[in-house]
Homo-oligomer: 332 residues x 4
């Protein structure tokens, strides 16, 4: 249940009421909001006199629901705002991993030259084998920060586990939570205490319900800037790496107020399919796109098969504009 308290209630009073009623407290659009389990169906007696408005829910998708907020949340990522009534579709490009200054600089120059604003690159790689390249870690974060400074770009990089979440919050403009870390409460709770936008990737074995509930961890902790990223489900099909779930995107758009970004590169796992899929994603009317591109994919230290060359990325970007336009949106 979500309870909006009367305007006469102060933040401190609201916090006390939250504690005494075992509820979460946030300030949302300048209102004091308490959130309890959806199992609670009636306003507790103790709160009745201070309740302005309340919402009940059939399950624990509450703050993220369209019942609570009809319009998609506005989330600002660097210089670009998505969601709300912006109709912006943000294109975030860059390599799977930050590998060296030379490599990430080439990527930064590509992004900059296309008039785009957002550069991605992994530093803590969630590899499934201990014997593979694990990412440059802090050194990679510092390289990204350098690119931000030199090229004026927004940088996006991923937290692998809770041991370095503070570094990610410090260095990255967006807290990206990887698919394998979607349930990581160490990361979710730390993200909820930051104001930075959070790009929460759906786990490949996670239901939509669980994914939105992971967002609820962040929202109920006080950070309202959450974006969901669909990046493919693990299914029985093995010709492609994962199965991009656009039906799920329809669900998210219909029932939740969270902006949605899509990552066709990880879903497909092969560069050949990424352009068609990226155009399909944009035609869905989504809020953003995450595309892997590498100056020389053949020598990439991770995900070599799925990264576009800079030429392919450029051609893709150009082809996305008319598709975006056809559905009333703007690639940015």
């Amino acid at each position: 249940m979500i309870i909006e308290l009367k305007a006469s209630v102060s933040v401190d009073q609201a916090k006390e009421l939250a504690q005494s009623n075992k509820a979460f407290h946030i300030v949302d659009q300048e209102k004091n909001i308490l959130i309890t389990s959806s199992g609670l169906r009636e306003v507790p007696d103790a709160l009745e006199s201070v309740t302005e408005k309340f919402w009940t829910f059939k399950d624990d998708i509450q703050l993220a629901s369209r019942e609570y907020r009809e319009q998609t949340r506005e989330v600002t990522i660097g210089s670009v705002t998505i969601g709300g009534d912006t109709n912006n579709t943000l294109l975030i490009g860059g390599p799977c991993s930050v590998e060296s200054e030379e490599q990430i600089r080439q990527s930064a120059e590509l992004i900059k030259s296309l008039g785009l604003t957002a550069l991605r690159g992994g530093c803590y790689k969630p590899r499934t084998s201990p014997y593979s390249f694990q990412g440059l870690g802090l050194e990679g974060l510092q390289l990204l920060a350098k690119m931000r400074e030199e090229y004026g770009l927004t940088v996006v990089t991923e937290a692998r586990d809770a041991t370095h979440i503070d570094e990610i919050i410090e260095y990255s403009d967006v807290i990206q939570i990887g698919a394998k870390a979607m349930y990581d409460q160490g990361i979710l709770r730390a993200s909820s205490k930051s104001n930075k936008p959070v790009l929460l990737k759906r786990g490949f074995g996670s239901t939509l319900q669980e994914t939105v509930q992971a967002a609820e961890f962040i929202l109920s902790g006080g950070n309202s800037n959450v974006v969901i990223c669909e990046r493919g489900l693990r299914t029985f099909e093995t010709k492609t790496r994962f199965t991009l779930d656009l039906c799920g995107v329809s669900y998210l758009k219909e029932y939740t107020n969270l902006p949605v970004i899509l990552d066709p590169s990880h879903a497909m796992g092969f560069a050949y399919g990424v352009p068609d899929l990226a155009r399909a994603c944009v035609a869905m009317g989504i809020d953003g796109l995450l595309i892997e591109t590498h100056p020389n994919p053949k020598v990439a230290k991770s995900d070599a098969s799925q990264q576009l060359t800079h030429e392919e990325f450029t051609a893709l970007y150009e082809s996305l504009q008319p598709v975006a336009q056809a559905v009333g949106r703007k690639m940015i």
Copy 2:
């Protein structure tokens, strides 16, 4: 292995060679073609002198492969040709089931009024319960034939099992093989002996490999007019009915020569998501789209939740044109 015989070999001789070498024989683009298991890697001695050209394959995707035929097959469905270099995207619309003459006539008028050509409607419904509406059977087929005659439309309806495949071949302009019947060799073999276009739906639990191999049953039997239809996989996600596999569509486009038609209605299972998904499908650059629409979805005898109203269908059709154009294709 596929072997193209020399032009000097007659059809009768080719048939004899096929039999003595336990191979399939077809005439494809006016050439005599023998097909054996892909396990065979070298031309048998007995065939060496009559072999013009041959192809070996790593698995049993042979006639359907781009190695054998580089260009997508041209398949003519009524008055419209898809595949080849046509850039046509055929929109097939109509109700889940043919329920009555009045109902299917309304659907036929909708299709006609929009300048479209293809009307779908199920007569033998592959219901999972014996206690549900099972379709009108032959009576439904006769109603579809009536609509074809009165409105000049192409009609598309599905074979549920081999007991009525002859009726389907007789009455329908397209032999639609349902997802639950994809492995049905009674249907596949009968279809391979017809010249009618075959719309082969991928089973919701079937791999791409199996789906294309099901097409090989039809192709190797002599019918070259096969179109694959992706309609969603069964995954762990339950908020939507199935999960439309656009990654798989990328694979089919890259590696096979079969035109691809998509059915977002069955994948999604809910009308609300169909328009976004249909636009995504068209942006993939596909050859056709199957959309369920009903004069009054609320009273539909099957799949009530996923059928668009005629108004929604009309609006969708209009919105598809600019998307098609943006990717160099034409909705028809």
Copy 3:
């Protein structure tokens, strides 16, 4: 809804009532039974005066439910009865495919020598490629019939599609419906008109609900001798061929009255895992086991990797007895 008619109602009257109420009619344990969709929640006025008893259901699992019949059905397969209070676990062994008289004779001798009664062997193989061995067809059925005659064995073989279901019903002691044919209404409806026991395999992409509903097609058509066979689901795991669903077996045992037979050979896909899995199956307290064994698995024309040698099969059989005993059952 299931309605048991009063004893005073004749079979002919019951049939008329079924027709006028759009219900199925069967005679079950000497009672006239009508079955309608589970959507019907109240006895129709026209039937009230002739109704002895009725059951309502939340979904279309009706005749197969434990609410309707508390005890597991007794089904007799050759000389062995399973289900009821027999505590028998029937072991059915034999090769994937009947390949030759010599081969199937060796299998028959193995089964006979162990004191077992049931011999399996496929004749119409549901191969996914047209270029693989497709089974001996009618010739295979005749070989099985010969083994029955010479060795006094029960023979079990599978219908691939509806075109040869009459042959299967004629030649086989059990109508086996393969996993890929589970939805095939041509087969289901023909089976429902026979009295022979039906071994209905769950499709690898089919839910428990759908599987039991497929059984309802047979039960509601008048054949009460239905056994479910679980043989593995298709999941994302690729190290094994399928994933045997023993949780699903728990569900079937709890909620349905159908005997359950398990097929660990197809689930695992590799001989090395079959003995452990077979022991696990027996410890579940099931009604039967289907194990593939071949005189010389290395040269088998289908499923070579998963068939046990005759020595392995013999050793397995011996190890199953104490497990069966430990859970109060008898291997037979």
Copy 4:
């Protein structure tokens, strides 16, 4: 590649060689072992003279493979050793969550009274909703420690994320890594630096390959005491909570040297199926079993539906002994 260094090489020298060759170094069974990526197929020149023996692998399952160690690892959990040639099957019982001293004491008394040794109970619960009971945290760990002291039991509890892994290592006798945390490198790396046994649960969306590779993180970090726990996969089937993968258990037993423990409670999600499944698990010849039991399941704060009553648990334990005996093992 795994390289066993000659006995003449000291630990310090081995560490230097590891560093200069970018390899992991561990001391395993008193030998200095270096481990590199499996991509390395030949011993580097610099190591040739100090190499006693080496193993190459087709993928990154190395230390966990049967090629490296033929026999299953012996792992000691409290007073019980599993694996090796012990034939022990350890039964670990207790509630889903530690809820209060009174509740966990009742559970401890049950375990003690049956002559068992291992008590489970969650303190940091990986709930998918922020609005559910999240566990008692440190207070729960302290209650478990009290039970250990008072009843002489081994206690087993789970790390949810890396922020409290040190607490788990301090308080628990076994470091349990939950299914949702299987990829958590913060937890994996910390566990690898401890000597405590690690119970690594397979993620419900994780392949066997990934699961064993997660174990490699721990093994290559120096902790050789890793046990894999299979607890069910997420599949399309919704009648049961998950699908227990016993085919996967066959794979683990055949190809890896890690003891295997099974958790049928989480797989099934319903108490009714747990006894049959537990017996099936034991018949597989596994090393341990994790069963949830609660003094009063109806009021349990988490997983109420799947916990056995103490009476059911006792009855189950008694029924497991003859099954274990039938396959040459001992429940303990």
